[in-house]
Amino acid sequence: MQFGIFTVGDVTPDPTTGRTPSERERIKAMVAIALKAEEVGLDVFATGEHHNPPFVPSSPTTMLGYVAARTEKLILSTSTTLITTNDPVKIAEDFAMLQHLADGRVDLMMGRGNTGPVYPWFGQDIRQGINLAVENYALLRRLWREDVVDWEGKFRSPLQGFTSTPRPLDDVPPFVWHGSIRSPEIAEQAAYYGDGFFHNNIFWPADHTKRMVELYRSRYAHYGHGTPEQAIVGLGGQVFMRKNSQDAVREFRPYFDNAPVYGHGPSLEDFTEQTPLTVGTPEQVVEKTLAFREYAGDYQRQLFLLDHAGLPLKTVLEQIDLLGEEVVPVLRKEFAAGRPAEVPEAPTHQSLLAAARKETVA
C-alpha cells in the first residue's frame, strides 16, 4: 500500500499571526514538504493544479520535475490534473517528459476542476465538464499508446499524423487515477479503462464515499478487469496531530475555523464526527484511517492533506515527521494484516513495465 501527501497549494494567511506567505515562500514550502515526505519514508507526493488566486500551483510538471531532481524514490503525482481545460496534447507531452526525467516515478490523477471561470479563461464551458473529461482523456490515452495519431473530436482542433513527443518511458504510459467527489460518470470512466479511482473523501460523510467506491468496484469487474476487490482505489484523509489530543484540538481550531473551504461553517467537533478529519493523537489517526477499509475495502493509496489553511511550514513538517514515525509504519503493518493475497498493489512504472514485457513474450 502507498502512503503520501497531497497538497492544494493555497496561499492563506496564518489566522494566529495574520501573516501571509509570499508566493515564492509557498512554492518553496511545497517543495520542502515533498522532500520531507521522501525523507520520512512516504511513497507519494501529489500537487493540485489551479489557475486562480489564492493558489500557486499552476504548473505541476515544473514543480514535480524540480522535486524529481532532488528525490530518489518518491512517486510524483497530481491532485488533480485538469483534463477539462488543459489541452490533452500538452498533458501527454508534459507527463511523458516528466517520466523520463524522474525515471518513471510518475503517475497522475485526472480531475475536472470546479472553479467556474477557469473554463472560459481556457476557452471551455463548464457545462461540458463531463464531456470534456471523456473526450480529452480518450485522446490522451491514444497519444500515449499510438505513435502516430489521426484524431477528430468535438472540443479540440483535429490532429493529422501527430506524434506526441517524447514517447512514454519504455513505451509505458503513466498510471492514471481519476478523482471525483460526486460524479458517478467519472467512477464509470475509471472502471471502463481499468484505471484507478481516487475519492478525496475529506469533505463528505463516509457513506457517500462508500457508494462511489462501490460503484467503481462493481463497474471495474463489469468491464472484466478483475474482481471488485482488485480494483485500484485511493482515498484522501485530513489530519492534525499532537502527542496529546487536547493540544492538537487547541492548536488546530483557529486554522479549522478560518479555513478557506469549511471555515465559518461547521464546528470542528461536528466535522470530525461526520467526515474523515482527525484532530488528535497519532494513535487516533491510525484508528480512524484503518476504519476507511471498512467502507472502501482493501485499497491501494492513502494520501493525507496536511498543509493548508495557513498552517506554517514548520508545523507541517512536524506533522510529516509524526506521519512517518508513528502513523504510517503502524498503518503499513495493520493494513497488510488480513489483506487478501489477490488484492494488488497500486501499479508503478516497474510493475506496468513488467506486465507489458510479459504480454510481449506471451
Partner: protein, 199 residues
C-alpha cells in the same frame, strides 16, 4: 398517498403551522393520505450547514428524502420583507433540483395583515413554477384577522379539494418515473459514442 407538509413558521405555537395543519386536515378528509410534517425551524442550523459543508446532516437528509418521495406537498411560509422567509427559500435551495418536477403543490402563507397576500402570486407561485411543480390554482393566505373572520375555511376547502384531486389524478395518470438514483450511470461506451463526430 404521501402528503408532506413543509412549514416555515418560527414561533411555537405558530399560525403558519396552524394553517398548514388545517390544510392537511382538509386534504385528509377528502382522500386517504399519510401526512408527514417538516418543521423548517428544527432544521434551520442543518440547512445553514448544508450551504457551508456541501452535504446535508441526518435530519435534513431525511426531510429532503421525504419531500422527494411525496405524492403532494403543502408548503406554508410566513411573509417576511415582502416575500417568503429566507429559511423557507433556503430549504428549497438545497433540495435536489428535480425533486418537485410534476408534483402537486399547494402554496400558502401567513402574515400580520392582508396587505401582503399577493406574495403567493408574485413570489411563491413563480418559485414553484421554476421548480416544475404543478401548483394548485387556489393559494391560501391567512392574515391575523382571518382567524376571526369569514372566508378562510372556504378557501382552505377549495384549495384542499384542488390538491386532493390533483394528487389522485396525477398519481393515476402520471407515468411514474423511477426515482433516479444519484449513483446511476450511463454505460461509458454510450457516453463516448455520443461525442463522436457524425458521419
Amino acid at each position: 398517498m404521501k402528503l408532506v407538509v413543509v412549514s416555515a413558521g418560527l414561533s411555537v405555537p405558530s399560525s403558519t403551522r396552524l394553517l398548514a395543519d388545517r390544510l392537511a386536515g382538509a386534504v385528509g378528509a377528502r382522500t386517504p393520505v399519510d401526512v408527514q410534517v417538516v418543521e423548517l425551524r428544527d432544521l434551520a442550523v442543518e440547512i445553514a450547514h448544508h450551504f457551508t459543508n456541501g452535504f446535508p446532516g441526518r435530519g435534513l437528509a431525511a426531510a429532503l428524502d421525504a419531500v422527494g418521495a411525496a405524492d403532494g406537498l403543502i408548503v406554508v411560509t410566513p411573509v417576511f420583507s415582502a416575500s417568503y422567509s429566507g429559511l423557507f427559500k433556503s430549504f428549497f435551495d438545497v433540495l435536489d433540483r428535480d425533486a418537485l418536477t410534476g408534483k402537486p403543490v399547494l402554496i400558502a402563507a401567513t402574515g400580520g395583515s392582508a396587505r401582503h397576500s399577493l406574495v403567493l402570486e408574485h413570489a411563491l407561485r413563480p418559485l414553484f413554477a421554476h421548480l416544475r411543480a404543478v401548483v394548485v390554482p387556489t393559494a391560501v393566505y391567512a392574515a391575523s384577522e382571518d382567524w376571526g373572520a369569514e372566508g378562510l375555511p372556504e378557501r382552505i376547502e377549495r384549495a384542499a379539494g384542488e390538491l386532493a384531486a390533483l394528487m389522485g389524478g396525477l398519481s393515476a395518470v402520471r407515468v411514474r418515473q423511477p426515482v433516479k438514483d444519484a449513483f446511476d450511470v450511463v454505460p461509458f461506451a454510450e457516453q463516448l459514442a455520443a461525442l463522436r463526430p457524425a458521419g
